[in-house]
Structure formats: C-alpha cells, structure tokens
C-alpha cells in the first residue's frame, strides 16, 4: 500500500528528489517492447507490447499491455497489473490481475515469477485463474545476443538478436475464448534490432505461431488456421 501511494506520488511528479542517499529511491521506467507492422499468412498485422514500471529496487508496480490486430481486426488484447517484489538476486515474485479483452472479456488472478535465468535468459512464468475457474499458465523466455557494436559508427549499444519463445497451457475448456484444456499455443520469434540508443531501437522480426492440442483440433474443425508465420518491422524504446 505504501508502495502504491509512493508510486502515485511519483507519477504526480511530487516525489522527493530521486537521488537520496539510500536504497528506496522511486524510479520509473517505460518500455515499448513491440510496436510493429507487417504481414502474416493471415494478412497484414499490427502488434504492441508496452510496460510501465514504478517503484524502488525492492517493490514495484508493473502495468503491461499487449495485443495484436490482423487485417484491421483486433485479435488479442490484454492488460496486466502486477505488484512485483524482489525475491533474490535474479528473481522477482509477481501477483496481480490480467484482463483479456475481446471475445469473453475474461478477468484472471495472476501469480508468478520473473527474472534472469543463468546465461541471461529473461524468464517470465505466470499462473492464472480465470473468473470461470479455469487455471492456466504462461511461459515466456527470451535473450538478447549482441551481434556487433557500432555498425554505423554511432555510439549506441549495437545490433542485437533476440530469440523468444512463448507458450500457454490451461486446465479446462473455455469455449467462449476458444481455448481448450492442454497446451493451447506456442510462438517462436527472432528479432534483429539495432539500438542507436536504448531509446531508439528499430527492428525487424520474423515469427511462427501455432495452436496446439485440442485447441488446434477444434479450430481446424471451425476452418480456422492453426499455424501462421509473420514478418514485421517496428520500433522498441526504453525511457
């Protein structure tokens, strides 16, 4: 609660000077992870992934939204709000709420871990329970491989390759959401990003996604595609 109040103060710009001797300085960070356009097997495609973080080194509040539109129609859109607590050197504990928009407009309670696994893999593992009582889980892993520095004679961090994997699993059928028990989908992607500065980082990305298990079977029955690949270009930014 104290953190939330402090976070609110910081948002209003009335927090104490950020450099105080001590540990509990409140900082904010805004990150546009994905903001891209391109094409997929289903047609033109737009996606976003943005998060805002505010808090101290130990206690933070995260707001994250991501989603995707295909052929001008929003396919997925969700919002997550987490309280994030430092657990150990490399791991955080998250607890909060997720809301899926479109189709069923589901609310979920969320609990999970995020952090940096050995070899600098960023990992986020979250368990959810929806308002319909269906448990689900999501795992995301990615890493940034620095390919080359200062390719354009600039003074930036350089060219990164970012492979990523994301998958979802759930305990029961949610017909309205068109997701069924078992693994529902997987997405593999590779992003080639050039950071002129951490604030300005254009990228190209290719990816492949596939519905899995019963979800795939049911969708195929309905005549939907179960796999698709895409290629996009976009911009990433940290500020």
């Amino acid at each position: 609660m104290r953190v939330l109040a402090a976070a609110a103060l910081a948002l209003l710009g009335s927090a104490a000077p950020a450099l105080a001797q001590g540990h509990d300085v409140i900082n904010s960070r805004f990150r546009l992870n994905q903001f891209d356009w391109g094409g997929s097997a289903e047609g033109n495609r737009f996606s976003w992934d943005f998060d805002a973080r505010i808090g101290t080194a130990d206690h933070r509040v995260f707001l994250r939204t991501e989603g995707e539109a295909t052929r001008g129609r929003t396919k997925d859109a969700e919002l997550q709000l987490f309280y994030n607590r430092r657990l150990s050197t490399f791991w955080d504990f998250n607890v909060g709420w997720r809301r899926d928009f479109l189709r069923g407009n589901r609310n979920h309670a969320a609990i999970g871990l995020s952090g940096i696994a050995p070899y600098f893999y960023e990992v986020e593992a979250t368990a959810y329970v929806s308002e319909r009582g269906i448990a689900s889980g999501r795992l995301e892993m990615s890493t940034d491989l620095l390919v080359a520095r200062q390719v354009f004679g600039d003074n930036g961090p350089g060219l990164y390759l970012r492979p990523r994997i994301a998958t979802n699993v759930q305990s029961g059928d949610d017909r309205e959401m068109r997701r069924f028990a078992g693994f529902t989908d997987v997405r593999l992607s590779a992003q080639l990003r050039y950071e002129f500065t951490p604030r300005i980082a254009p990228y190209v990305e290719v990816g492949w996604e596939r519905l899995l298990g019963r979800t795939a079977t049911e969708m195929r029955h309905e005549g939907d595609r179960v796999s698709s690949s895409y290629a996009v270009f976009g911009i990433r930014s940290l500020f």
């Binding site: 450099l19 001797q21 001590g22 300085v25 080194a57 490399f90 940096i116 520095r149």
Partner: protein, 572 residues
C-alpha cells in the same frame, strides 16, 4: 584565494552571528582563526571544450578554489547555500571533529538548508593533498569539488620549484537523477563495450572454440558481464575543470622539479594516469608521504590522491594522460615551458575485459581456485557467500600484482584481459599498491585485536549496491571501541572495483610493507578480490564508510563506522 580572503575580511564582522547557529568544539573566537574563507554554493553554467552545461559551483568556480593552508592552522570556512535544495561540504581525508566532517546524517551534522549558512572550524592536524566536495545527493558530480593543499609545519625533504594541482573529474550533461534512473532501467545501460558475436569469433580463433564457449558459459552462468568496468559513460573528462581541447597547462623551466598533486575527484571514473615521456616519483598517497617510488604510471581510484614529482628535462610540451578504465575517452593536460603548447596525445589503450581469474575462477593453472564457488554470483542473498574463496596468499591482494611491468601478457587483438591489465607499454612500470611505503616506520605498532569482515556486495541487474548485503538505511554498522586496533578485511564479491572510503581516520593498507604500511583514506578493492587494512580507532564518532563510486553510494553502498568512547564523555 585573494578574493576569498578579501571577502572574509569584509564579512568578518558578520561571522559572529553565524557562529551562534553552530556549536563547534574549541573556545577561540573567529577573530583568532588563522585562515578564514567564505564559500557560496550556487548553480552555474560551465563551458568545457566549447560546450556549455549546468553545474554547481563552490566559491564561484568548477573546480572550487584550491584551499592552500598550513599544518597547525585553525581554519574557519563559512559556507552559504544558494541552491534551492540542501547541501553540504565534506573535507575528504581531513582529521577533524565529527560534526565538522560535513556528511549529513552523521556525527550530528545536518545538511545546510537552502539559504542557510554553516560555519566549519577545525585545526589542521596533518599536511598533504586532500580535497573537498558535496556529500549530498548528486551535487558532487555536478561540479562541487575542489582541492586542499596543506603545507607541512616542517619543510619537506624533497622540494619542488613548481607545485600544481591536477584535479581529475568527469562531467556529464545528463543530470545525476537521469543517470541514476537509467542505471536502474536496464543493466549495462551505458556500457558500450559489451562482448559481441564478432568478439566471440575472434576469441575462438585466438583461444580455441572450446575455451571461448566455456568462458562465455562461465560468465553467463554467473549472470555477470566481464565488460562492466564503469557503469556510466558519456562523460567529458576534465583536468582542473578543463576539457581535452581546453588543455590545462602548467608551466616549467627545463630541469626544474615539478610537484603534481593528482586528485581523482570524479563521480564514477577510475583512471590510468601517465606522462608518456616522463618518469614520476611518487612521494605521497592520499595526502600522506610515502618513500619516493619511481614509476611510469598509476591507476587512481575515485577519492584517492597521489603526489608525484617530475623533472621535465627539455623545453617542450609533455602530455599528462588520464584514461578511464573503460577507455570511453580521456583527460589530458600539458606541462610546457610556455602557454599554448601541446604535446603528442598517445592513442587510447585497449579496454580490458575481466577474466574468470578476476572472479577467482581461473580454469587452467588456477590450482584449486577453479573449484571454488562463483563469487558473488548469487549476491547478497547467498548464504554461502561468506565461504567465497580466499584469494591469493595471506598478504593482501595487490591490484596490479604480477602485471606491473613489461608487455602485457594479457594483451591480444586490441583487448587486454583482466582487471590488472592497464595496457602498460613494454618496459614501463606501473605503480602497485605493494610499492607504497610510509615514510613513518612503526616497528612497535600493536597487532589488531580482531578482524572485521567487510563484504562488498551488489546486484548489477537491479543496480543495488550494498555492504554485507545491506543497503544504507538498513545497515549493520561497524563498531569499534576508542583506541581499539582492528583489521578491516574487504571481500569484493562483485565484478566491479570499489574505492572504499572511510571518513575521519586513516586505514593502514596491508600491502606487505611491513612496518611501513601506507596510510590511506580510500582503498581500491579490485573485482572479486580481497584487501585488508589495519586501523586504530582513535577518532570517536559515527563515520561514513562507503564506496566512492557516486552512484554506488547513492544506491546504498554505505555504512556507519562507529567509534565508541571508552569512558562516558571520553570524547572530550
């Protein structure tokens, strides 16, 4: 100085009023002080190499005016705060009563409020080269720093015809607040030397694919970055407030002895300092005299000072080079027979990459070290951290051990390997801590009665820096009884070097110099290494004890060093 003295005289009448605000030790009136000076702290703009940016000045300039005093004098400094935030001035390295030390929150000293005045008063109990700076938030990095030169009461053995302060600093156009926010936003935000896939290919050609993969996996397993030498880049590097193009110049006549008082007053930059064509005679370290030691270069941590004597033989320009360890630029100045001259600027040396042996994890030839735990890999939360390997022999680790002279064995393909590799040219000699020997021999110094372990801990990914895993505010203070002789054993569990500074007392660095251990107020503890120092706790008070990397201190890498009086009221 003359301006300040005139101001002091003019304001002398008004000072009695200021004196009533502050209780200070001593019975003398202001009029009895040997030296008086007024210093205003205010926002200003400074121009470095033609680029103007925001700064904070003390006494109207960046750096602040050099305070030239004499040992034994009683000095009075009246500081007026013209900022809209609290400020403070700390006298770095001076022995004085705690309340005069100028660190807010310690020894009963309270930061000077906006519009307020604080009158410092103390008797100079030492001589040598010291400095003064703000101890409030990011103000020091904004320009609040200056040199203190205290002449000894008795003349020195080695005199010099010229005496110059060479004040090294780093100036950023970003505000300290913005820098700190960026450091917290992403690990390595400012690091522009991280290893790439191309480096991987090159290293594979040199070391073999297997060894290179193993090296990458080792660092990856620890989740540490071997290229993290300086957390912040984008600095302009200054000598006496002047940039590389401004080219601060000190004049000499050939054959004269020139004393250079080199002070590292930067926020985040550890420098390798050399005069490429001149041998230096190191005569002082951290203000205290040492037996003269000829060297070609030295590494200077933040807060350290070295006094050197050079004797330029020819009527030409000699360059003073100071390269930060991450080689993100350089500071230079010139010694010349006339103003307006400049000497050749040597190419920047290669930037080093830390190795597994820096972290105590050598693979080949490392003996049992390779089986040791990855030091600090799990940071403060690691219950086994206390078992991290004892590095080297009983004698404290020397930051330059084994690499002091000759061609760098670790140099390869434009990159040197290991913290100690300064890229020293063949045949040149770099100062090692082990070279420092106090002029004062203390054969009867008592042995320490106990040892205090000081673990230097941190988490780069979150930009949390701590001592013993505890940030300032939740610190577990170091405690000693007045007069107690103790050993401080530093154990650096991180992959960065930490210049550890103790206020109020000198530490005697255990560098193998027998009964001539050098007195230091800053000890630069290399990555993954240990160092130790002896100390007689003869200054009662509650002293700051912190990493002098400004943003490490800000992040929490500070504790209290409490010296308790042996008797009640024994401090008097």
């Amino acid at each position: 100085m003359s301006l300040s003295r005139r101001d002091s005289l003019r304001l002398a009448g008004g000072m009695a009023a200021a004196g009533t605000i502050v209780a200070y030790p001593g019975r003398r009136s202001f009029a009895a002080a040997d030296e008086q000076i007024d210093l205003a702290v205010e926002r200003t703009r400074i121009t470095v190499d033609g680029v103007t940016s925001d700064a904070i000045s003390i006494g109207g300039s960046v750096p602040a005016p050099t305070l030239r005093w004499r040992e034994g004098q009683e000095v009075v400094i009246r500081v007026v705060n013209r900022l809209n935030e609290p400020t403070s001035i700390h006298w770095h390295g001076l022995l004085l009563a705690g309340v005069m030390d100028g660190a807010p929150g310690f020894n009963g000293y309270v930061a000077i409020p906006p519009g307020g005045t604080y009158t410092y008063r103390f008797r100079l109990r030492q001589s040598g080269t010291y400095w003064y700076h703000s101890h409030s938030a990011g103000q020091e990095q904004a320009g609040m720093y200056g040199a203190i030169v205290i002449e000894p009461a008795r003349p020195e053995a080695l005199t010099a015809a010229r005496d110059y302060v060479v004040f090294l600093s780093d100036h950023s156009r970003e505000s300290p607040t913005a820098i700190f926010r960026n450091l917290r936003a992403r690990e390595g935000y400012y690091n522009r030397g991280q290893r790439t896939f191309i480096d991987f290919l090159r290293d594979s050609r040199r070391d073999g694919l297997g060894a290179t993969i193993r090296d990458r996996l080792d660092w990856g397993e620890m989740r540490m970055d071997p290229t993290d030498l300086a957390d912040v880049t984008g600095y302009q590097f200054l000598v006496n407030g002047q940039g590389t193009a401004d080219n601060w110049t000190g004049l000499f006549t050939p054959g004269e002895r020139v004393r250079l008082r080199i002070i590292n007053g930067s926020a985040m930059s550890i420098f390798d300092v050399a005069l490429p064509d001149l041998r230096m005679l190191v005569v002082g370290a951290d203000g205290m005299p040492v037996l003269p030691m000829p060297v070609d270069e030295f590494r200077i941590g933040i807060g350290e000072t070295y006094d050197v004597i050079v004797t330029p033989p020819e009527a030409r320009a000699y360059t003073i080079m100071a390269e930060p360890v991450d080689r993100s630029g350089y500071a230079r100045a010139t010694l010349a027979p006339r103003a307006g001259m400049s000497g050749p600027i040597p190419p920047l040396r290669p930037r080093t990459v830390l190795t597994m042996s820096d972290m105590g994890m050598a693979h080949g030839g490392g003996g049992h070290a390779g089986h040791s735990m990855p030091m600090g890999a799990s940071g403060s939360a690691d219950p086994h951290a206390g078992h991290a390997m004892p590095m080297g022999a009983a004698v404290s680790i020397d930051p330059h051990a084994g690499h002091s002279m000759a061609a760098m064995p670790g140099m390869a393909d434009g990159r040197t390997m290991g913290w100690t590799s300064a890229g020293t040219p063949p045949g040149k000699r770099a100062l090692r801590y082990a070279d420092l020997r106090s002029t004062v021999s203390r054969p009867s110094a008592p042995a320490p009665s106990r040892e205090i372990l000081v673990r230097l801990t941190g988490q780069m990914n979150r930009y949390i820096w701590t001592i013993d895993g505890r940030p300032f505010g939740m610190e577990d203070p170091v405690r000693a009884r007045e007069g107690e002789r103790i050993r401080l054993r530093f154990m650096n569990e991180t992959m960065m070097a930490h210049p550890m500074h103790l206020h109020g007392m000198f530490m005697e660095l255990e560098n193998g110099a027998g009964n001539r251990l050098p007195y230091k107020h800053v000890i630069l503890v290399p990555p993954g290494s240990e160092a130790s120092a002896l100390l007689t706790a003869n200054e009662v008070g509650e002293w700051p004890f912190h990493c002098h990397l400004l943003f490490h201190m800000e992040a929490g890498m500070m504790t209290r060093f409490i010296v308790e009086p042996t008797r009640v009221g024994g401090a008097g």
